[in-house]
Structures are given as C-alpha cells and as structure tokens.
Symmetry: C2
Subunit: 245 residues, 2 copies
C-alpha cells in the first residue's frame, strides 16, 4: 500500500477517520504515529498528504491536504477472457496498477463455466483487487469494469456500438504472424484495445469474429505465457511503443 486511498464521501472538512485495513496498515506496517505524514489519494480525485492527528483505539484521524494530479493513464483498454478467480483478482490488480482505463471481462469457448459463476463475477465485486492496484501504483482513477457472459453479442453488438473510439484493436493469438509492434503500428496517443484469450487460447470462430471487427492478430513468440505474465508484458510493450518517436 503505497497510497492510503480515500472515498470522497469519507472526507469531512479536510479530515478523515479510518478504522479498517487502512488504519491497521498505518499502525502495523507503516508503524506511523501522531504527527507523521502519509501519502493519500481520493478516489477519482487528487493525490496529497494525510497528517496523522489522532490515533485512538482502532481509529486513525488524518488531516488531508490534496495537491497533485494522479499519474497519467495510457489510453489502453483490455478485453480479458475470464480466468480462474484467484488469477482474475491478481490480473485486475496488475492491469489497474499499469493504468488501464476500461476492462471488459468476456466469455469464450475455453473459459471454464465455473469461472463465470464465481462469487467475484456474480457479485460484480471487483473493488478489492482494483483498490490494491490503485494503492500500489499511487493512482486514484478506478477503471470501468464490465462483464459480458455472451461472446457474440459482445463482439457483434457491444464492440461496434460502444467501442468505436478504439481504433487500434489488437488480438493476442499464437498463430498471429506479426509482432505487437507490427500490429500496433505508430501508436502514440491513439486509444488501443487489447484482447487476451483464455488459457488454451481463442478458438477459430472467436478469432474470425474478432478479425471481422478490425482486430489484428499478433504473436508474443513461441512461448505460451500465463495471463498474469502476458498482461503486464503486453501492457509494458504498448507503453514502450507509445514512447517511441
């Protein structure tokens, strides 16, 4: 936790009283005491400092002073075939820490049915891994997450109607004969939509449907990576491509 993340509703006259895992973190991990200054951020808002005014019982009272914008978010969105719940939590935190704007969790032929009926997905309860990612990266911007249990309506209806702003569409697929750099071209600040399939890969039907919607298949090489390795590797590559002259 590199940042104490606050909900705007928790703030009253520039002060906040914490009593949950954040208070515990301040006491037990940071071993902070009254007078110490911590990094704080307000969800959807600014970063700044929190000066500890009081520590009584379970409570920690901070005087909050907000000063600076969170780090810039690269204009990248992620389509992810749902992995097993423990992996999904990890990958969400990773993707959020790298600054993804929107995450579309979709179904695919090789997604195990049980993954889709996990409590995480069923309850749409992604707040914990998302907050972990923001706290890690010292960001305050919660990405949008949506769940799409049916592949075809997502690709045939949702994509053209809702995601027309994503011009660069990239499909991670071992049979692709291009590298990510070749598929993405001169990316710069253009919005990119990256689709990563399930363990076992996309089936032909899915690849064809995504190609019809303008997705360009690319390969990461002969190595098959786990999703918690592929997601940061590909987001890292996109980030580097955006920096190139």
């Amino acid at each position: 936790m590199n940042l104490i993340l606050l909900d705007p509703k928790e703030l009253t006259d520039h002060h906040v009283t914490l009593s949950d895992r954040r208070a515990e973190h301040i006491r037990k991990i940071l071993r902070a005491s009254v007078g110490d200054t911590l990094r704080v951020g307000v969800l959807g808002g600014l970063l700044g400092t929190g000066c500890i005014r009081e520590m009584t019982g379970k409570n920690v009272v901070l005087a909050v002073h907000l000063t600076s914008e969170p780090p810039p978010c690269p204009p990248t969105d992620l389509i992810l075939a749902v992995p097993r719940p423990i992996m999904l939590k990890r990958v969400l935190a990773q993707a959020v820490s790298m600054g993804v704007t929107r995450i579309f969790l979709i179904n695919a032929n090789r997604v195990e049915k049980s993954f889709f009926s996990s409590t995480l997905i069923q309850n749409n309860d992604f707040r914990e891994p998302l907050c972990l990612g923001l706290e890690q990266a010292m960001d305050t911007r919660m990405p949008e997450i949506s769940v799409h249990p049916r592949f075809r309506p997502f690709v045939e209806d949702f994509l053209p109607e809702q995601l027309s702003d994503c011009l660069t569409r990239l499909l991670a697929h071992p049979d692709g004969d291009r590298t990510l750099a070749q598929a993405a071209g001169g990316l710069r600040e253009q919005r990119a939509l990256l689709a990563i399939g399930p363990e076992g890969g996309w089936v032909d039907f899915e690849v064809e449907h995504l190609k019809k919607q303008g997705f360009i298949p690319f390969s990461l090489g002969a190595r098959i990576l786990r999703v918690d390795t592929a997601v940061p590797a590909l987001l890292g590559q996109l980030s580097l491509l955006r920096q190139l002259p």
Copy 2:
C-alpha cells in the same frame, strides 16, 4: 502444464515411466488415455511428443520421440533483490517462462532479513517454480540461479569478474530520468542485464555502486509496480526493443 518435462536420466530406450504430478496431470487434467500423444521436452534438450503406451495404477508410460529445438532464449539476465518467498516463486516462474538465462538473487538494504532465511533460499530449492515456468512456456532450458547474500561483494567483485559479457546494464529505479528504450539504446542481440530492486526501492548507496559498474538507471514512470508486474513488463519491453529495426 503445456509440456510434460522429462529429466534425461528418466529416459530408457526412448521410453519413460511417470508416477508423480506429471502422471496425475496427464490423467486428471488432460484426461488422456492410451494412444494419445502429448507434448514433451527433455530438460536441457529437445522438444517432441510422448505417446501414451500404458496407464496402470499411478504409472503412465510414454514412448518419446524428440524432434525440435526449444524456443530461442533472449540474451537477458536478471538481478533481483529477493522478494518474499511466495512472490519469489511466482516471479521465478514468470521470468523463466519469458526465457531469462541467468537469475542473480541478491540482498539489498530494503530486503527483509526473513526473506533471505526462507527455506526456499536456504535450501536453494528453486526447481519447482523453474519447472512451472518451463512447462508453461514449452521450454527445456533451465536458467542458472545463484544467491548472493552480500550486496557489495556481488557488485564489486562478482559483477566485474563473472558478468563482463553483459555490456548493457539496466537499473530499474523510479528516479531515473530515462525510459528503458533510452537506457538500452539499440539493443538487438546484445546481452542485457536487468536489475530490479526490492519493494521500497534501492537505497542511494546501492544505486551509486551499481552506476559505478555501468548500470544505467531508467524509470517505468510514476507508477510503482509490484515485482510480479514489473518483471514481465520489463522483460516484455526488452523483448520488443530487440525486435525493432
């Protein structure tokens, strides 16, 4: 497990009998039966197929036919300040799946002492996470791993004496004013040595010592990433830099 990994000593006249987690994987996850063909690889050797000849009790007998080279390994070595054991296992598997050649696990000021006395480190028992990485990426080349409990002798003696072949030396450090692309320059097939610090970062003393040995600091940007996100992101970026014209 995308690959059944075999030790050369297990092979007798092109046959192998498995009874451990690989046999269990073949039975329970792959649900394979006699006559089926699986992807196999021999540690340090070739990839090929294993045809199931017999399945009795816990045993699975494969007839092994080796045909092709494992995927190329990028000439990249990794220096990693030791993270907590559960994270170390994960990062080793990630790094191996991306084809790192050598991994140097070193101490640093902000490495918690207890991490260094974990059974994983004390017993030098990295085989399990390394095999997981190879099985995932369908590779057979086990990287070299060494443990260096003292920072200064590693940097002042070991680095100049043993790692003179690594000309490009890169230091992940938030205060770096270059990007990885700027620090690495025209990398192509040149051997690169990437140093990634502990949670909390390198201390100034360490940065100065590494710079004296030719390490160029670079920053990943304002976002602080966990080591299981930073390692794949940076290895992905190096891999992309090597592909650029």
